[in-house]
Symmetry: C2
Subunit: 331 residues, 2 copies
């Protein structure tokens, strides 16, 4: 059963992370509480699931993959904590963000601790492997953090830029979101013992799926409801983010509609009514297009893996399921 | 000449760091500028000097040590950027801190980028070594970040705690400052090929020297002048830091003096006159004691290395020189 596979991996990853974050020396209780905060509120564990099933797909060492998957989830959580500070977000997964609960200094530090803990887990997952593999996996992991930081910088820069194109958006999203998902499938395949050609295919799978994932994220941020989303609706509009939907609307809408959108975009004092009105314009011009583009990237992701014979049929089903789920999800 | 050795290492480290931080992809110029900012304003390069000379002491691979030393300097700089945000410091090494110049979001991100870049350099420094050594050096590096984060959390917690003892202080300083210096000498000895017993001695050297270093830092923060220090004098008092000097004074001073000190300690609106008055009290009760304790830790550091035959006489002189300099420095 696919569901059992999911539950098993998520459970193992959660227990691993818990273990690595359980021993708080005297005087550091707040720091460790703050570091654990977001893990306790759910999350899909998408990246470890991709990493572990990519490794299983090739018949690799499952327990090393679980530990590396825990590392990538911990890394992802560190970026969420710091992003929430930078983006002034006060809710995530339906609970207060770390800086709202513990203050900014402790939230910065909690992110830094998780950043280091992620490396601790990854290094432990590689203990005793071939030195070349150790180097290569570390390199992939490090690169993903560098690229994600660059993507976050671009995202912030875009907020005050009026001529962001779809190409700019795709470049930014590739860095900010897709690269870490691609690092997950790539590291899974590396631990799975793949040769460079197959590793590259797993990387392409992750990049394309990651782009689809972010487009859907942008869609959900405007079509979902707050209870399901766990954070305020329309925050992309309020913060002036250049999402695919907003870029497309700015390009396609009538001058009057564009004028209205520009008035509300990045206006942190915009009223609920203004936001709703503008969101209807955005949906009209971009929703269909965004879905079809996400669909296309998902298809590219799946076709990257064609022809790679799975050692583990279930794991290959999991990667297909995750790809389809990426498009269908509501949060 | 010792000075040549210093200049060579510092020059190689600076060039290495420059190389790793030089390629900013489009849209990330501010991020890379912010990341490079503190390197351009000097700094002693103490940690790479310790790492490289520890490795040379044992006749190890000098160029690997330079790269690992660059990693540890980059890591140290990341902690400075984030600490300055947490501590609300606006000057360092005589120039505005990163968050003052680029804003907090970019400063958080610049720190994160350096954190990752440090791992990139370290991983590259280990490319092709024995897998056990790769694992062990990574573990030491990761541990140092975890411990430094814990030390920073303790330091922040102490600001609102009235009964901090000298033992608490030493525990905090060991984590916040000494551990990264100990990681430097330890990693140097690991790359130098030392057996576990010798590695432990290099670690003890760093821990003891690091404690001496921090005590002297506390002294300088109250006895130096602002031009030399490159940041405001008395900031420890203003921020309510529990330094060795303040703990000792709270214990030894007359009730009237203690009352005055407590009024000014942690008071961000304290006047220049109040700060000067209180600093005189602190000096009277703690300066001699603090110097003698720093001297004691420095002696322990040097005696840790006794009996280890140097392969490179100059490198062993460098470690001695750095130890003596730690006590004599004025900034």
């Amino acid at each position: 059963m696919l569901q059992d596979y999911f539950n098993d991996v998520v459970d193992q990853v959660n227990k691993t992370i818990e273990k690595y974050l359980s021993s708080a020396p005297s005087g550091t209780t707040s720091l460790y509480d703050a570091s654990r905060h977001l893990f306790s509120s759910g999350g899909k564990r998408l990246r470890p699931l991709i990493l572990v099933s990519s490794c299983d797909y090739l018949g690799g060492d499952h327990s090393r993959a679980v530990l590396a998957g825990s590392a990538i989830e911990t890394l992802h959580t560190f970026t969420l904590i710091h992003d929430d500070i930078m983006d002034h977000d006060s809710l995530r997964r339906g609970i207060p963000t770390v800086h709202v609960k513990w203050g900014e200094p402790m939230a910065i530090l909690a992110g830094d601790l998780l950043h280091a803990k992620a490396f601790e887990m990854l290094n432990d997952s590689l203990k005793g492997v071939d030195e070349k593999l150790h180097y290569e996996v570390m390199k992939t992991f490090v690169n993903s953090i560098i690229v994600v930081s660059e993507g976050q910088a671009m995202d912030m820069e875009f907020e005050s830029k009026n001529d962001v194109t779809e190409e700019d958006y795709l470049e930014m999203v590739k860095k900010k979101t897709a690269y870490l998902i691609a690092a997950s499938s790539k590291i899974g395949s590396l631990i799975g013992g793949a040769d460079p050609e197959v590793v590259e295919k797993f990387f392409r799978f992750g990049i394309n799926l990651g782009i689809a994932f972010q487009i859907v994220d942008d869609i959900i941020g405007i079509t979902s409801d707050e209870a399901e989303l766990g954070k305020p609706l329309f925050s992309d509009i309020r913060e002036g983010k250049r999402t695919l939907l907003i870029i497309k609307t700015l390009k396609e809408a009538q001058p009057k509609e564009v004028k209205l959108l520009k008035e509300v975009l990045g206006n942190r004092n915009a009223s609920a009514e203004q936001l709703r009105e503008v969101s209807e314009i955005i949906k009209k011009y971009s929703l269909e297009y965004a879905y079809s583009l996400a669909e296309e990237y998902k298809s590219r992701a799946l076709s990257s893996l064609e022809g790679i014979q799975p050692s583990n049929q279930e794991a290959s089903e999991v990667l297909k399921f995750i790809s389809e789920f990426t498009l269908k999800r509501k949060k």
